[in-house]
């Protein structure tokens, strides 16, 4: 059985490395993108199972990535978890309205992030549903 693929989008290479160690240790395959353009390309070519998305990115930002993702029928059901260094104000609600499944500020507890990833994947696979 193929491993679950997670696309980590962050312009900070140290953050990418730390997340990849943690995610791989939990059995996930990890792909990377460091800006909005390469993130969009990776979404199309790799079709990950979930995206961990920073908001502050070169060549566009996380909102641009979410907009492109949700405009593409083939990609629009991929869950997005935002993990950002930006302030709550003006970003949290906007990210959730733009389609993010969850919003975390850095630094995040590993357990909380891994729990959110599992739940988001369960929802996207139809094992859980959002309550009205």
């Amino acid at each position: 059985m193929d491993k679950t693929k997670i696309l980590v989008v962050d312009d900070n290479p140290t953050i990418r490395k730390g997340l990849s160690i943690r995610l791989r240790a939990n059995g996930y395959e990890v792909l990377f993108a460091e800006d909005a353009i390469s993130a969009t390309a990776a979404l199309v070519t790799e079709r990950p199972d979930l995206v961990l998305l920073d908001l502050g990115l070169p060549a566009g930002d996380g909102f641009v990535v979410m907009e492109r993702l949700h405009k593409n029928d083939r990609l629009s059901n991929i869950p997005v978890i935002v993990l950002t260094g930006r302030e709550l104000s003006g970003n949290r609600d906007r990210a959730l309205q733009a389609g993010a499944t969850a919003f975390f500020q850095k630094p995040v507890e590993d357990g909380a992030l891994l729990f959110a990833i599992r739940k988001a994947l369960d929802v996207s696979r139809g094992e859980l549903r959002f309550d009205e």
Partner: protein, 89 residues
């Protein structure tokens, strides 16, 4: 990997981004060490990494309170996943 300092109107955005990314790196790699993902640590090494992480958490609490007006822990996820349940079969 730091950006140029901005004018005062964007100071909180700048501080949030720069400080949170640096704190995230400390937090991530401290926990990677503590969890043995880079090899086992001695009890003394674990104690010292624990001190680093505890102080990083203190800085995070101050940052949350100063920049976002959220006192105390900020670990609760703000998300749609708080409203999920098992599908009925």
């Amino acid at each position: 990997m730091t950006s140029p300092a901005p004018d005062s109107s964007n100071l909180s955005t700048y501080l949030s981004h720069e400080l949170r990314n640096s704190l995230a790196c400390i937090h991530q790699f401290g926990n990677i060490l503590l969890d043995g993902l880079a090899g086992e640590l001695s009890s003394e090494q674990r104690e010292y990494v624990g001190i680093i992480l505890e102080n990083a958490s203190n800085i995070r609490r101050v940052l949350n309170s100063a920049l976002d007006g959220v006192p105390g822990s900020h670990e609760k996820c703000t998300n749609k996943l708080e409203r999920v349940s098992k599908l009925e079969t």
